[in-house]
């Protein structure tokens, strides 16, 4: 199962959107390069497929791991107030992983020709958008840092995660487990790595003024 999961995750990688501000921050500060070793045994076993209506089977939504610097970072560029979108289409959340700054407002437009009922019971942001038809959208403002796992009550194989961060330094972990966060201001920083099935881990890194610090995180 796991072997099949990882290649699929790798295939999905090009679809994932990366925050554009990461590149701007890379000019001043050090780079954090890391290798995430995903343990072969996940914290929980997840069914690969899910029975859907009409007898078909559905893939459980895959959420890539993410690495980010926890806490606020002095001197970091402010996040833009631009609204974000987490669309429901083809009974999937797109994108499956959305990293937003604290205070960001996220739209949940329904792109499918049927109702969805998006909710999250995560302490980072509990919300229940209720059911709404195609074309309609609801918005949620994420005002606390943390990770909110997003589900649809009607289509139980759908899942997504909204990672609410306090600084712009984050990166999606690649299929090979590698990530690179550039332009992190020097100093001692906490690096958090999160995976939907394995939970999260935070390590201390000392970011140099310039150059690269390499970390290895086992999750």
């Amino acid at each position: 199962m796991r072997h099949r999961l990882l290649p699929r995750a790798a295939l999905l990688l090009p679809l994932l959107a990366t925050a554009p501000h990461a590149a701007t921050a890379a000019q001043a500060g050090g780079t954090v390069e890391g290798l995430v070793e995903l343990s072969p045994r996940a914290a929980r076993r997840v069914a690969a497929t899910y029975p859907g209506a009409g007898g078909g089977t559905h893939l459980v939504g895959a959420v890539p791991p993410v690495a980010f610097i926890a806490g606020s970072v002095g001197g970091a560029p402010a996040a833009s107030a631009q609204p974000r979108r987490l669309e429901q289409r083809d009974t999937s959340f797109r994108p499956a992983l959305l990293v937003v700054p604290v205070g960001a407002r996220v739209e949940f437009p329904n792109g499918d020709p049927f109702f969805h009922n998006v909710f999250s019971y995560s302490p980072a942001k509990r919300f229940d958008l209720g059911r709404y038809p195609r074309g309609e959208s609801r918005a949620v403002t994420f005002d606390r840092p943390g990770v909110a796992k997003v589900y649809c009550e009607i289509h139980q194989w759908m899942r997504a995660a909204v990672v609410v961060v306090e600084n712009p330094f984050h990166a999606t972990v690649g299929a090979d487990g590698r990530f690179r966060i550039a332009g992190v201001p020097a100093g001692r920083r906490r690096l958090t790595v999160w995976d939907v099935d394995r939970g999260e881990r935070t390590v201390e890194v000392t970011v140099p003024a310039s150059g690269t610090v390499r970390v290895q995180v086992r999750l």
Binding site: R45, V46, Y50, P123, K149, W157
Partner: protein
């Protein structure tokens, strides 16, 4: 008689009470048993019915409850599936399990879902994947502490399947039917949800109504849910008690009986386990049985009463004739031969009564006949007739006939009334008859004023002529007495004429079988009658009679008379009186002549030969006060073969051994008696001597009180010790040999003294010739000399004797020779006649047994007289009809010099004898002797070899004089060579 009567009354009482009681007991007992059995059957049936009812009720309850529970569970299952199917609750649980803050949210979510589902009162409890309670909702409220709301093992139960999932749970004093389902997110278990609906009074009421019983659900000893009746009546306590028991229990509650049937719900046992008790009402099913039982008890009581009454009546009706029979029997025993019992009916008792009446009638007739016969014929003849031994015809024998006739009777009675005449005649003739009977004669018939008497028939009397003459003299004296009385009154006297003749006559029962008359017939009888006619107040005897009594009777010849019917004239003598007898020379010579004749021809004699007394070899004083009667016995004995052990005493040899015994008994009056017996045979033991003639017995006995009440005796006589010596030569003992205890030599010697215990114990293994040295336990039949006093008191008799020799002493020591014996011994005997058939006795004998100077030498300072032999004998005899049985046990103790004063042996003999016919008798005997032990170097060693002997004997009497005996015996002994030994003995004996 009184004793017998008392015993009879006691037995009758016993019979009466026990018979009635038993009958009553049988009746009442059988009725009672029947009742008990019926009651038992009804009880069993009741129990079975109740059991079936309870079972049915429980089954019904189970079914109803099962259906109810299934519906509830189905509903619960539906909710659970719905909750589990959504990802909201799993998502909330996942968050709650991750952090404590989310638990409240989870509970509220659950509350929302329950309200949405429309079961707001239900229980919902969550546990995480590890089974730890996370949150719970009850009655629409969030429970502050969810810990008690989740059933233990819910996580495991959830994994275990539907069975485990369905159970019961107690939360806050309420009972819930719970169902636990797993919650999963994306197929991943995040924990469990336990949904429960209350099992409350309403549910119990619903169940109770549907099954018609009271129901209660319990846990922890408390009634958590129950039907209204249980709640109302306080039945909970009884039910709580019953729940603990594993089996149904019956109680009475508010006057109604019910069965409490407990059942465990769910899999959990112990105090937290949940159980259900169904109270099944029994009143309805028990009522008919109760009525039945009551009716049965009433009917049973009536039946018992009837049984008692019927039993009493029946037993009375049975006992009355029995009682009547008993009292009639008692009256009969007392001599009332007219006694009859009423015929009770046609049953067995009636038959018994009839048989009794017949018996009484028969007895009465017999007694009446006896009375008549006693009057008509002599008592002896009457008894013979009544014994039924009446044969027609008779035997020719020599008798003396006497006719007496009263003269001058007619003139004397002139003018007397006839009754007076008869009385006088009877008085006179009665006196004449008494004279006849006093001399042993028989009044054959009364002949008006006279009588006819016979001497010598039916009982043989050797001296019948003399007796007849003496009777005649007595008659004359009697008449003289009557005349003297009459003369004193001035009345005329009478005379009696008597005729006596001796000669052959036919004696026997004459007449027809229907009417017999014992009498004597013959010419000699006629002659006596004629002599009587001739006699005028005198006694006339014929020459034949005179020849027989010449020595004792004083008579004068009256010449010869012609007698009618006799061709020759008859010499007639007139008797003057009976005189003193002549000297003994004549009879002795005659006895010797008779003896010689017997020796020549007696064994082959077909006819009974006369005895010495019958031949007139006897002497009697004229008054008859002194009588000497001789007896003789000739024996021929043979012991075959000579295989028997040498130490058997007396020693024996093959071939014929003759023995002649001549004895004489002398009576002087009724107080003095003397007896002498001379034996001529080969001396005992045979191996030690040749022929000898010796006086075996000679003694004088004085009975100062007459009879046998008290007697003193001195001389030489048979030893009074033990049972055997007294009867050893009588027909009572059918054997030739003495019994084993009297016929066995022990290793104790009278002539030798052992050197010590070892030597003594070794004697028994010495070579055979040594054996005869030993002393016999008791000599066969010793005749010691001595003196004794004996007496009898009621049924008790006893004697004390001083004797010259010990029980084991050999014959040469029997007769006392001053200065020779070791000393006198004492003997005693006590006998008790328990019943006419049974007798017991004990004997004792103790005295020195050693020879005056034993060859072995006595210890220094000891004398032969210091060593005693002591014997105890216990005997018992029983005789009934033709059977006789006898047992005798002897305990022997020897004082053996240098060995012990307690050298013991014991022996016993048991004997049974049967008389097969008047002339044939058989007997069997068993004897054993057992020897004690002496200490040889501290070890008990038997001092002689035990022996056993079995014997069979038979005797045949040929006529009245001759007897043949044969005996066969088998002897076993441990003495080497071990094994059995056989011997036989025969004896022919002739008494004269």
């Amino acid at each position: 008689m009184r004793w017998t009567g008392a015993r009879g009354a006691g037995a009758a009482d016993l019979l009466r009470t026990s018979f009635r009681a038993r009958l009553l007991f049988a009746l009442v007992g059988s009725v009672g048993l029947l009742l008990a059995a019926t009651l038992l059957v009804v009880r069993l049936q009741t129990r079975r019915e109740v059991g079936a009812l309870v079972r049915r009720a429980v089954e019904r309850t189970n079914t109803a409850f099962g259906e109810m529970e299934e519906a509830r569970r189905r509903q619960l299952g539906g909710y659970a599936a719905r909750f589990a199917g959504s990802n909201r609750l799993p998502a909330a649980l996942e968050e709650a399990a991750a952090g404590p803050g989310a638990a409240r949210f989870l509970a509220e979510t659950a509350l929302y879902e329950l309200q949405l589902a429309g079961i707001p009162t239900a229980l919902a409890a969550f546990a995480d994947a590890g089974g730890v309670p996370v949150a719970a909702v009850l009655d629409g409220r969030v429970m502050p502490d969810p810990a008690g709301a989740v059933p233990a093992g819910a996580a495991g139960g959830a994994a275990g399947g539907p069975e485990g999932a369905g159970s019961y749970h107690r939360v806050g004093g309420r009972l819930f039917t719970v169902q636990t389902v797993p919650l999963a997110l994306f197929g991943n278990p995040v924990g469990t949800l336990t949904l429960g609906v209350p099992l409350d009074d309403a549910a119990a009421e619903q169940l109770g109504r549907s099954v018609g019983a009271e129901v209660c659900f319990l846990s922890g000893g408390r009634c958590l849910a129950a039907t209204a009746a249980v709640r109302r009546g306080g039945l909970e306590r009884a039910i709580a008690g019953a729940a603990g028991a594993g089996t149904p229990r019956r109680i009475r509650w508010n006057g109604e009986r019910m069965a409490l049937v407990p059942a465990r719900l769910g899999r959990r046992a112990g105090p937290d386990g949940v159980s259900r008790v169904v109270a099944v009402p029994l009143e309805e099913v028990l009522t008919p049985f109760d009525q039945l039982e009551r009716a049965q008890a009433a009917a049973g009581a009536v039946a018992l009463l009837v049984a008692v009454a019927v039993g009493a009546v029946l037993s009375r009706s049975f006992a009355r004739p029995v009682r009547a029979l008993v009292s009639a029997t008692r009256r009969l025993a007392a001599g009332d031969l007219e006694t009859r019992v009423p015929r009770a009916g046609r049953d067995e008792l009636g038959t018994l009564a009839a048989a009794f009446n017949e018996m009484a009638h028969g007895l009465m007739l017999k007694e009446r006949y006896r009375g008549v016969l006693d009057k008509v014929v002599s008592r002896e003849v009457a008894e013979e007739l009544l014994k039924g031994e009446i044969r027609l015809g008779g035997e020719t024998r020599e008798v003396t006939t006497l006719f007496a006739d009263v003269r001058g009777f007619t003139p004397m009675t002139e003018g007397m009334p006839p009754e007076r005449v008869i009385t006088l005649l009877n008085e006179l003739v009665g006196r004449l008859g008494a004279a006849v009977e006093s001399e042993g004669g028989v009044v054959d018939k009364f002949l008006g004023d006279g009588l006819m008497a016979v001497f010598g028939a039916p009982a043989a009397l050797p001296d019948h002529p003399l007796r007849a003459v003496r009777a005649a003299v007595r008659m004359r004296e009697a008449v003289a007495g009557v005349n003297a009385e009459r003369a004193a009154r001035g009345e005329a006297g009478v005379e009696v004429g008597i005729g006596v003749n001796t000669g052959p006559a036919v004696a026997g029962n004459m007449g027809s079988p229907g009417r017999l008359n014992y009498t004597v017939l013959g010419e000699s009888v006629n002659v006596a009658s004629r002599l009587c006619s001739l006699a005028a107040g005198e006694i006339l005897v014929s020459g034949a009679t005179w020849a027989r009594v010449a020595g004792q009777v004083d008579a004068v010849p009256c010449g010869e008379r012609r007698i009618k019917g006799l061709s020759a004239p008859l010499a007639v003598f007139r008797v003057r009186g009976v005189r003193a007898p002549p000297g003994p020379g004549g009879p002795v010579a005659r006895a010797a002549a008779v003896l010689l004749a017997l020796l020549a021809g007696a064994p082959g004699a077909a006819q009974p030969l006369p005895t010495l007394a019958e031949l007139g070899v006897a002497w009697s004083s004229p008054a008859g006060t002194v009588q000497v009667t001789p007896r003789g016995r000739l024996e021929l004995e043979s012991h075959l073969p000579r295989a028997e052990r040498e130490w058997q005493v007396p020693g024996s040899e093959p071939g014929l051994q003759p023995r002649l015994v001549l004895a004489a008994d002398a009576f002087a009056g009724s107080r003095w008696y003397a007896s002498v017996a001379v034996h001529a045979d080969r001396a005992r033991p045979l191996s030690r001597g040749g022929a000898s003639v010796r006086v075996e017995q000679a003694f004088l006995r004085w009975s100062p009180l007459g009879g046998d009440r008290l007697a003193v005796q001195a001389g030489q006589f048979a030893s009074p010790f033990g049972g055997y010596p007294q009867r050893h030569h009588t027909a009572d003992d059918p054997f030739i040999r003495p019994p084993l205890p009297y016929d066995h030599r022990t290793m104790v010697s009278a002539a030798r003294v052992p050197a010590g215990p070892a030597a003594f114990a070794g004697w028994k293994d010495a070579p055979d010739p040594h054996r005869p040295e030993g002393a016999s336990a008791v000599w066969g039949a010793p005749y010691p000399s001595g003196a004794l006093v004996m007496g009898r008191l009621g049924r008790l008799d006893g004697l004390v004797a001083v004797l010259s020799s010990a029980p084991s002493s050999e014959p040469r020591r029997w007769r006392h020779r001053p200065g020779e014996g070791a000393g006198a011994s004492v003997a005693a005997r006590l006998g008790l006649q328990l019943a006419p058939e049974a007798r017991v006795g004990v004997s004792y004998h103790r005295g020195p047994y050693l020879e005056p100077d034993p060859a072995g030498g006595l210890p220094p300072g000891a004398r032969a007289g210091d060593y005693d032999q002591e014997l105890w004998a216990v005997e018992a005899a029983f005789a009934r009809g033709r059977m006789t049985a006898r047992v005798e046990v002897l305990f022997d103790r020897w004082e053996v010099p240098r060995v012990s004063r307690r050298v013991r042996d014991r022996s016993w003999t048991a004997e049974a004898r049967a008389r097969l016919s008047p002339s044939l008798f058989v007997a069997a005997r068993y004897g054993a002797v057992r020897f004690g032990r002496v200490a040889v170097e501290g070890r008990p060693v038997p001092w002689d070899y035990d022996a056993d002997r079995a014997e069979a004997g038979a005797g045949l009497r040929l006529g009245r004089n001759t007897e043949l005996r044969a005996e066969y015996l088998i002897l076993w002994t441990d003495a080497p060579p071990a094994g059995g030994d056989r011997a036989a003995a025969v004896r022919w004996s002739y008494r004269f």
